[in-house]
């Protein structure tokens, strides 16, 4: 049987036992129980229809579980995630389910209001919350707790000032810069993430095409049902056999709907890791940025020190405009030189502090990031292996159904 979402909860709980620090999931049950359509006025005062999701929580500590619930829109989940991205740049932040239906095969509508899509999104949102709640670092975040329990969480999240950081982060992440000495591990990780993204999207595309074709094969068999039924009306000996065989053909044609619905869950598991790859890349980029800042600061410091040397020695070792102008306009006075040296000394002191800070920041980041990356790798290997096995289970179930239908049909044909 498929790992149910409850199962994911249990697994997440199991992982909590191994994590350091407290894990929210140990104290509280979380679920996204329902989805509902609402209509209301949006920011530009226009009527819009949107879906809200019911988050149910139940504190399990103590003897009386206290249940609570509130409704949230998808956009609020997005806000929460953006906050987490900015606040914990060294963590691989769990992804949200897709905003719009991608990798659609012909039967599924790409409509966000489609009940199947909404249902799968509900499951995806619950999965997101459980992932965060079972994360050794993220689960103790206060804003996350408020998101789950407090209607007025938005004030709190804006108070953190994360938006300002978010803007500068976005700017930095989109800027192009080159790091002189890239960390090999992070380069490899970035390369791996690119490959993971590429291969999972290719897989999702091909899978959707295969699903489309499989649908066609099964549905055409429904025509047998129709024709057999009509034909049985003009036959005597063959009539009964044809009629019942026709029913089995109808059943066969109808069975593909459930088969492909189940497979969508598999596709969702792949999608989660497609989006996870993006989250990993974000961590790598953040590291690159820190590295770049450190390199810039070090370079700055080095050049200032060099200037100091030059000024002190009175020689110009390398070509500089300073040197040129002194040659052209005469040397500086000793007083001027003294003043300049003093300024440089200050700058060097500041520079050294900066470099130390940046180095520390980088080291801290690398340490924390790498810890989470190891955790992520284990989780990924486990989850994807489970997904592949559940895919095999689905195929087995499909084959068993096929065997049953055609065995029954064969019996009917034999009786003709």
């Amino acid at each position: 049987s498929l790992p149910s979402v409850r199962g994911t909860h249990v697994e997440s709980l199991e992982k909590c036992d191994m994590a350091e620090g407290s894990c929210l999931l140990r104290k509280m049950e979380i679920s996204v129980a329902e989805a509902e359509k609402r209509t209301g006025k949006n920011a530009v005062n226009m009527q819009e229809t949107y879906t809200v999701y019911l988050i149910e929580t139940s504190v399990t500590e103590g003897h009386n579980p206290v249940p609570d619930s509130l409704w949230r829109r998808y956009s609020e989940f997005e806000l929460l995630r953006n906050y987490l991205l900015v606040t914990y740049p060294f963590i691989v932040i769990p992804p949200l389910p897709e905003k719009r239906a991608e990798f659609v095969w012909h039967k599924l509508s790409a409509d966000n209001m489609d009940p199947d899509f909404v249902e799968r999104r509900r499951i995806g949102l619950e999965n997101f919350l459980l992932r965060v709640a079972s994360h050794p670092v993220l689960s103790s975040d206060k804003i996350f707790f408020l998101f789950l329990t407090e209607n007025g969480w938005k004030e709190a999240v804006f108070e953190t000032g994360f938006l300002a950081k978010s803007d500068s982060r976005l700017k930095a992440l989109n800027a192009t810069f080159r790091v002189k000495n890239p960390d090999k591990r992070f380069s490899e990780l970035k390369h791996y993430s690119d490959e993971l993204q590429s291969v999972t999207s290719q897989l999702l595309r091909v899978r959707a095409r295969v699903a489309d074709r499989l649908y066609g094969v099964y549905k055409v068999h429904g025509n047998y049902g129709r024709v057999f039924s009509e034909w049985s009306a003009i036959e005597k000996e063959m009539g009964d056999g044809l009629q019942s065989a026709g029913h089995h053909m109808d059943a066969y044609a109808a069975s593909v709907d459930d088969i492909l619905e189940e497979e969508e869950h598999y596709a969702d598991q792949l999608k989660e890791y497609l989006f996870y790859a993006e989250a990993v890349k974000a961590v790598c980029r953040k590291h690159e940025l820190l590295q770049y800042e450190l390199e810039t600061a070090s370079q700055d410091l080095a050049s200032k020190k060099q200037q100091q040397e030059e000024l002190a020695a009175g020689t110009v070792r390398t070509f500089s405009f300073k040197g040129m102008t002194s040659k052209l306009f005469g040397q500086e006075t000793p007083e001027q030189r003294e003043a300049k040296l003093k300024v440089l000394e200050e700058q060097i002191k500041e520079g050294e502090v900066t470099v130390t800070e940046k180095t520390l920041e980088c080291e801290e980041f690398v340490k924390n990031a790498w810890k989470d990356i190891e955790r992520f790798k284990e989780q990924k290997d486990h989850d994807l292996r489970e997904a592949l096995m559940s895919y095999a289970v689905m195929q087995i179930s499909m084959c068993k159904k096929g065997i049953q239908v055609w065995t029954n049909a064969k019996e009917c044909f034999s009786k003709m």
Binding site: L214, V217, R385, Q395, C399, F413
Partner: protein
Amino acid sequence: MSGMSADPAQALPAVMSPLSGQMLELDEDDDLEVFSKDMNLMDGSPMNASMPTSPASMINQYKFEEETDAKDIFVTVDNPESHVTALETFITYRVVTKTTRSEFDSCEYEVRRRYQDFLWLKERLEEGHPTLIMHPLPEKFVMKGMVERFNDDFIETRQKALHKFLNRVADHPILSCHEDFKIFLTAQAWELTSHKKQGPGFLSRMGDTVRAVAASVRGVRNRPEEFTAMLEYVDSFGQKMISLDKVTQRIVKEQKEYLGELKEYGPVYTLWSGSEEELVEPLKGVASCIDRCCKATEEQIGHLSENLVPLLHEYVLCTDSVKAVLRRRDNIQAESEAKNDALANRKADREALKEEVERLEDKVECANNALKGDWLRWQGNMRSDIKAAFVSTAEKNVDYYEKCLAVWESFLTSQTAAHDMESNSGHSS
């Protein structure tokens, strides 16, 4: 040959010797005499119901069925070869006959025949027995698609259809005794050519055609209810066959498209395994499962294309054959009715005309009986052909799913085993 024993004997005029000849070959036995007497008395009901229940006669019944069921002529069509002459290129097929029938001088023959020869045989058999139902020949041309005449698949399909056609003739108690059938199986190429030329001349054939057209234009007046019922049935049946033919070909098309996509699917898992460490085995495992399912799908498509598709197509052609038979019967009756009308209106030559009327009325009766007998035989063949084809298809589908099931189950088992090994060896999960 289910249900054949009593009815053809009933349908045959006493003049026909072959079947009674076969009966004479059996043991002279008192009970057998009773047996054959009973057969003549029976009115189309199955033999078992009116058999005397003494054990001895039961044994004879079994022997009788066995011996008439035993085929005494085996025909195969194979070995297509291309022949090029200055004027044309054509294919010939090898026709091998093995027989113990006394009318044949030898017990084994091997000749080469081309499609035209089969066509000639069919026309001769139709002429001799206008109201017997024959299995159809494969089509002369294939309209849909750009199928070359000398394409391998086309030739193979045609060969199988020709084989079936000849076998159905060989199995038919009346048709298989036709002189031209023997000549077709035994004559050397030049012998056959000269024999063909001896057939009814062009003018006499024209005469037949004119009469037939005239008769069909005239139309039949009092068609017996059972033949109208046959026509209605064949009409409906034909439509069903056309539908099933279309549906089955569509299934093949969809399967091929599915296979095309599936072939691209497995390799992506293999590609993925290239960037992973822990997941290499499961990813490669899934890729391998998909590839093996591809092979199973290919086999399934092949089976469908080679069995159900041609069979349904044959039965589309069959309905045309049967409709032609019903038309010919109608024409015979129409001719007889016309002569009757003429008799009613004429004053002179009444005696000569009366003879002619009687002859035609006999002809109608023979034609009707032949058709009625063959109708049951055709229905029996149709049921068993269709049943066999669909049973075989269902079996193949079960086989296909069983193969795929085994593939995925073995993957799952190996994965669970590997995982258990890892956990046992103290690997952190």
